[in-house]
């Protein structure tokens, strides 16, 4: 063991341990499970966006080869509690049935489930089910839906407005009265898909002997899912086990508990055999969930010198036909509203969020929900304001950033003070690396040659690791994270955490944290995660919380075990604890340096000899810790892009791209940079490519990858990444990185295109910036 505090692996590009099984085809995703007696489910889905269900006739299907069971809402709904979402002071609840029995409210609504010997046979039988529908007119446009009372998606709401929420601080009217200019624009972010490569998937199994439900799920939050299964199905919590092995991407989609999850669990209980359901891509794009369907009407009041006096946002969020359990459907619009002013000092802010129900798929969180779309709108409006005031867009930002001298900065809208952020450094470095000083000349020169170049910036401050969150439904008010570290009798370290990895590399970064804290090699640490029977609890992996929350918790537990080992070694050597040190892998007592004990000696003795126990309460070397940090940490960053727009074809080429990030001390630069590059690609997708489209009569038109485009390897080249590593205050030094880069990247791309097309006074207020929209914006055809 090394002396504590001397990092050996933190900051090093340690190879990701999970990669070995994934590159050899030995990962275990849910669809890779083949259990004895397992049967396969398929869901019959509504082809209508809105229709009364008059009858479901499954007689012919029931005799189809290989069919084990066919169930509809009338069979399943009474066996589960309703999935109630959204009851707040502002809204009535929506009660969601397992399978809708009265009405279908979206194309893809699951109306029946077929279980058969294999998926082919289940789908054969599904085609024989005869459903009688009475089609109703759908509401698809949020503005139309708001105004309409003739067509209601949920009759009990009395309208199609789920909720109207308001908030803010200061006095907007006062800000307008004191301002020199008010700039206003409405921004329309396209509905898009989180799109993990692996869709939703689960296998449920019921053991009647132990009365225990085991569910293997591709999930971001096995512990939350266990809680939901227990609550909804009325099974004691300790009789539900959720196992999450390899997860093929998640991005927010898998931090929901879906109706299909409950249906499959109910079938496993009823049939007493394992039931597998793996959604196909059509189901994923049509019926799982969409995201970011926001309209953002934004006004900003400024002085002529660019100082921001106020901001007003009126947001309309199209939540689709249902909420997703257990989140309130207006969560994402509100998150957008609350996050809008950051990273600037905005003294007056007023917001309104109207959340509207339509006959479309429900809205999920998707990486940086609210924040990414909000940042695009805000930064775009700042550029428009800068043009109007003839100010340099960078100067305008410099004037308003929450800067070093403002720290700690108490957000005027409430929340923990912002500290240890480096917004100015990030902006200056991004400007320098992208070559901003010379860029205007380069741009002019290009323009003279008929080429359209533009530069755009995106800046963010993002909180992560809030202990309290809406996702802690049914759990303690403070949120939940605990981890256990133990040194086994064989000298191996096992660390149990409740988070799970969908590509974030936690098996490696968490092992680095534990290894360095305990002074052992990284490969001596095994990270055990994704099983609710492990000694760890968690609110899940979302909101960029895991490194901040799990990291701090693990380090605390690892420190305990180190201290316990010193105590055992001291007893063995009959030396005072303070005189025992760890050097070069051995415990050495000051007074007799030649008598040394290895890690293995101490580990074995601690487990085998109860008289050496470090505490009076038990034997062995082990500690369980809870997350105890009171507030979130804030990370920040600035991205800059230079693009060229071909005004003939509408093609956008990214010429240069710079990401300056401050996520605190880097644990593993290779893994961190992967998070940044991946986030930039997702921002590229939402700015240039991705759009879920419904026809006028409510049919989803983007149900394959030929219609719904995501970035590919040729979309853009490499990016320059620069890290500022400002530690977070308090005991956990680490900050988050999962979402922030996406928040900075979307505006960097979009503002660069707007800058390139500024000679045309192009209004680029609707994403994605597809070639036809760009050509239209330049007045071409």
């Amino acid at each position: 063991m090394r002396p504590r505090g001397q990092s050996a692996s933190i900051g090093e590009p340690v190879k990701a341990s999970a990669d070995l099984r994934l590159i050899t085809g030995r990962g275990v995703f849910v669809d890779d499970l083949h259990l004895p007696r397992m049967v396969h489910a398929a869901f019959l889905r509504s082809p209508h966006p809105h229709a009364r269900i008059l009858g479901i006739d499954a007689k012919n299907a029931a005799t189809s080869p290989g069919v084990v069971a066919i169930r509809t809402g009338s069979d399943l709904n009474l066996r589960s509690k309703l999935m109630q979402v959204g009851e707040t002071t502002e809204a009535s609840a929506i009660d969601i049935e397992v399978l809708p029995s009265g009405k279908a409210r979206m194309v893809g609504d699951p109306l029946a489930v077929v279980v058969a010997q294999d998926r082919y046979l289940a789908e054969d039988a599904m085609e024989l089910i005869d459903v009688t529908y009475e089609p109703l007119s759908p509401v698809l446009d949020a503005d139309v839906a708001r105004a309409s009372t003739d067509t209601l998606v949920h009759e009990n709401l009395g309208s199609n407005v789920f909720s109207t929420a308001e908030g803010g601080y200061g006095d907007w009217d006062e800000a307008v009265a004191s301002s020199d200019v008010v700039v206003r624009e409405t921004f329309r972010q396209a509905r898009c898909s989180p799109f993990p490569l692996e869709g939703r998937a689960l296998v449920a199994d019921w053991d009647p002997a132990d009365a225990k439900l085991t569910v293997w799920s591709s999930s971001q939050w096995p512990h939350m899912f266990r809680q939901h299964l227990s609550d909804l199905l009325n099974i004691p919590l300790d009789h539900v086990r959720v196992v999450t092995q390899d997860v093929g991407g998640a991005f927010g989609l898998k931090a929901n508990t879906f109706r299909e999850d409950i249906a499959i669990a109910l079938l496993a209980v009823e049939l007493g055999r394992p039931v597998k359901w793996v959604e196909d891509r059509r189901e994923n794009l049509m019926a799982s969930a969409h995201a970011r369907d926001h309209s953002i009407d934004l006004e900003i009041a400024l002085k002529n010198d660019g100082v921001i006096l106020g901001l007003r946002a009126r947001i309309v969020d199209d939540m689709g036909a249902y909420g997703l359990y257990p989140w309130s459907p207006d969560s994402w619009g509100k998150l957008l509203a609350v996050s809008l002013p950051l990273p600037y000092k905005v003294p007056n802010y007023q917001w309104e969020v109207v959340t509207v129900v339509t006959n479309k798929a429900p809205e999920s969180a998707y990486r940086a929900p609210g924040n990414a779309a909000g940042a695009w709108a805000r930064e775009s409006l700042l550029d428009i304001a800068a043009r109007q005031l003839s100010l340099d867009p960078i100067d305008l930002r410099r004037r308003n950033l929450i800067a070093r001298q403002d720290l700690p900065f108490s957000p005027l809208g409430g929340g923990a003070p912002i500290d240890a952020v480096t917004t100015e450094e990030a902006l200056e470095q991004a400007a320098a690396l992208i070559g901003y000083d010379d860029f205007r000349q380069e741009q002019q020169k290009a323009l003279a040659e008929g080429r359209y170049l533009g530069v755009g910036f995106g800046i963010y401050i993002k909180a992560a690791g809030r202990p309290k969150s809406p996702a802690t439904v049914g759990l303690s008010e403070t949120g939940l994270e605990s981890a256990t570290v133990r040194m086994s009798a064989t000298g191996a370290v096992q660390a149990f955490v409740g988070a799970c990895s969908g590509g974030q590399g936690y098996e490696t970064t968490f092992a680095q944290l534990v290894a360095d804290e305990m002074g052992v090699p990284v490969d001596a640490v095994q990270i055990q995660m994704g099983d609710t029977d492990f000694p760890a609890e968690s609110s899940g992996t979302w909101g960029s919380r895991s490194t901040v929350v799990v990291g701090a918790t693990l380090v605390g537990a690892a420190r305990d075990v180190s201290t316990q080992m010193i105590a055992v070694a001291a007893k063995m050597m009959e030396a005072p604890q303070e005189e025992v040190a760890l050097e070069g892998g051995f415990f050495i007592a000051e007074r007799a340096p030649s008598e040394r004990l290895s890690v293995l000696d101490v580990a074995r003795a601690a487990w085998e000899d109860s008289s050496l126990a470090p505490s009076t309460l038990g034997t062995g070397l082990s500690s369980t810790r809870h997350y105890e940090i009171p507030g979130p940490t804030y990370s920040n960053g600035c991205h800059a892009a230079v693009v060229e727009v071909d005004t003939e074809t509408g093609k956008v080429s990214v010429l240069r791209y710079v990401a300056v990030e401050d996520c605190g001390p880097l644990i593993n630069p290779m893994i961190a940079n992967g998070q940044i590059r991946g986030a930039i690609a997702q921002a590229y997708g939402s700015v240039f490519l991705e759009e879920i489209v419904y026809s006028e009569d409510g049919l989803p038109l983007t149900t394959t990858l030929l219609d719904y485009l995501i970035p590919d390897a040729a979309s853009m080249g490499d990016v320059i990444i620069k890290h500022l590593e400002t530690p977070a205050p308090g005991s956990g030094r680490f900050k988050s990185l999962g979402e922030g880069p996406l928040v900075a990247s979307a505006p960097a791309f979009a503002c660069a295109v707007a800058d390139a097309l500024s000679p045309f006074d192009a209004r680029l207020t609707r994403l994605p910036l597809k070639p036809d929209r760009l050509i239209e914006a330049t007045g071409g055809d």
Binding site: P13, I23, T24, G25, R26, L197, F251, R677, A681, V719
Partner: protein, 161 residues
Amino acid sequence: MAQVALRLKVNGVEHEALVEPRLTLADFLRTDLGLTGTHLGCEHGVCGACTVLLDGEAVRSCLLFAVQTEGHEVITIEGMAQGEELHPIQEAFWEQHGLQCGFCTPGFILSAYNLLQENAQPSEEEIQAAISGNLCRCTGYQSIVASVKAAAEKLQLQRES
């Protein structure tokens, strides 16, 4: 449904099976042979996660019926390493962290294999083009391009020695 006799070689091993004509090659590999490293990301031939080698050429196993491979040879991700020894492409993906969640990775490795068979020293643009038929949602692709480049160098060194 009537079953059809099928004989093929997978990762060097001869297999005989009775399969339904409609069974896709991907499902045959995953379910009948237990080779679950071949993943299904779209089942309509766009994402490339199910890429395998058919007589040395990269193909999408979700778009082929198992019966079409009668008498042919298939290599899957499980056939890339020689025992404990990783294929140089796999080594490169590990060293460059050319993956995150790993779901798309087997397809990328087999597409890279196909590219490097045809073009031992591809440029960055050629790599981007060659793997643009495989989709990844996590990495942003740069680490995958770097992995393929590193793999080309490793294979070059192997040939030289």
